[in-house]
């Protein structure tokens, strides 16, 4: 008892370093989760031309259009901004309206077209037409910076 009384006041210290560690961990975690959460990128088997003339992406705003296809190379839906558009004239028209709105909101954006390597061209062509029309509808005379997504040569998959 005596020894307890003679110890004096207890010194309380806040350990900041583990707090900073945890904060960093959370920042990293949410940064990664937000990257994964971007549904712009659907897992696709992109074309792999070799040797390629493709270039790495720039840090420019982008509008990403994904072709969701089956094994026979038939596009079942177009995915744009978390929405799926069916492959019929009304679906394509809705997609065109959505792209028009996006280009109007961000005229400098690049349009990234991502399609599986086995997709038949008959599915791609109407969308190329609609993207061009959407750009002109959004801003007359607007030049669409279309980017065709390909797999890098050094990519293992």
């Amino acid at each position: 008892m005596k020894s307890m009384l003679t110890r004096g006041p207890v010194k309380i210290e806040a350990l900041i370093t583990p707090l900073i560690d945890i904060a960093m961990l959370l920042v990293v975690f949410f940064a990664l989760v937000s990257q994964i959460g971007i549904t712009d990128f659907v897992k696709l088997n992109l074309p792999k031309p070799s040797p390629t003339a493709a270039v790495a992406p720039h840090n420019e705003p982008r509008i990403v259009i994904n072709a969701i296809a089956n094994e026979q190379g038939e596009v079942t839906a177009w995915r744009f901004l978390n929405d799926d558009y069916v492959v019929d004239p009304s679906g394509i028209q809705s997609l065109c309206n959505a792209i028009t709105a996006s280009i109007q909101a961000n005229p400098a954006a690049e349009v990234h077209l991502r399609a599986d390597s086995n997709v038949k061209y008959t599915y791609i062509s109407p969308v190329l037409d609609q993207v061009g029309k959407a750009a002109t509808k959004a801003i007359p005379g607007h030049l669409v910076k279309l980017r065709l997504a390909v797999q890098p040569e050094h990519h293992g998959g």
Binding site: T17, I20, D21, M24, L25, V28, A31, L32, Q35, L46, P47, K48, P49, P51, T52, A53, A54, V55, A56, P57, G73, V111, H112, R114, A115, D116, S117, N118, V119, K120, Y121, T122, I124, S125, L128, D129, V131, G132, K133, A135, T136, K137, P140, G141, H142, L143, V144, K145, L146, R147, L148, A149, V150, Q151, P152, H155
Partner: protein, 186 residues
């Protein structure tokens, strides 16, 4: 005690096995130890290396992951200005110069390349690059037929896979042409 007497006593003690030499050495050691202790006490700065290593590893992991995420695809650049003109012009492919048309036809499981111009017809996309590169006008190739900004219309058939359409496009870019456009399906 005088110095001579001290030395005499010391020599005497040394002769008997114990002596002032030890004592002097001890005093010297004590002084050094005290000096070291005082020096240590004066040092107030400590370097915590472990949190630094933690943070470094976090940053390393972050950049490795970010690099993997960003490095997974590349892009072939084109523009849709001509197709965009479809709303204004009755012909969606209206170009200032007549374009050089290249058709991709699907025969069985093979894609055939057909250049609609009197020149050697390529069998592969590599050959397409070589043939059209040899026809591109430049200071190194003054006999070339087409300038680099010659409009080229790439017209894949309906059932041509996107991989082949992109490979043909890639081959034309590699041949040095700048205005390549996709036509509607045949």
């Amino acid at each position: 005690m005088g110095e001579a007497a001290f030395l005499a006593a010391a020599l005497d003690q040394l002769a008997h096995g114990t002596g002032p030499v030890e004592t002097i050495a001890q005093i010297r050691d004590d002084k050094l130890a005290n000096k070291r202790a005082a020096r240590r006490a004066n040092r107030g700065i400590k370097l915590n290396v472990i949190p630094m290593i933690d943070v470094t590893f976090f940053l390393l992991v972050f950049f490795v992951c970010a690099n993997k995420t960003l490095d997974r695809e590349e892009f072939l650049r084109t523009d849709l200005s001509q197709r965009g003109a479809a709303v204004v012009s009755p012909n969606s492919l209206a170009l200032d110069e007549p374009p050089l048309r290249i058709e991709l036809l699907r025969i069985g499981q093979h894609t055939k390349i057909k250049i609609l111009a009197p020149m050697a017809q390529p069998d592969t996309f590599e050959q397409l690059t070589a043939v059209l590169n040899s026809k591109r006008y430049s200071t190194e190739n003054p006999t070339g037929l087409f300038p680099a900004d010659q409009p080229i219309e790439l017209a894949p058939a309906k059932d041509v896979p996107w991989d082949d359409a992109v490979s043909a496009f890639n081959g034309l870019v590699r041949a040095g042409y700048q205005q390549i456009h996709f036509a509607g399906p045949q």
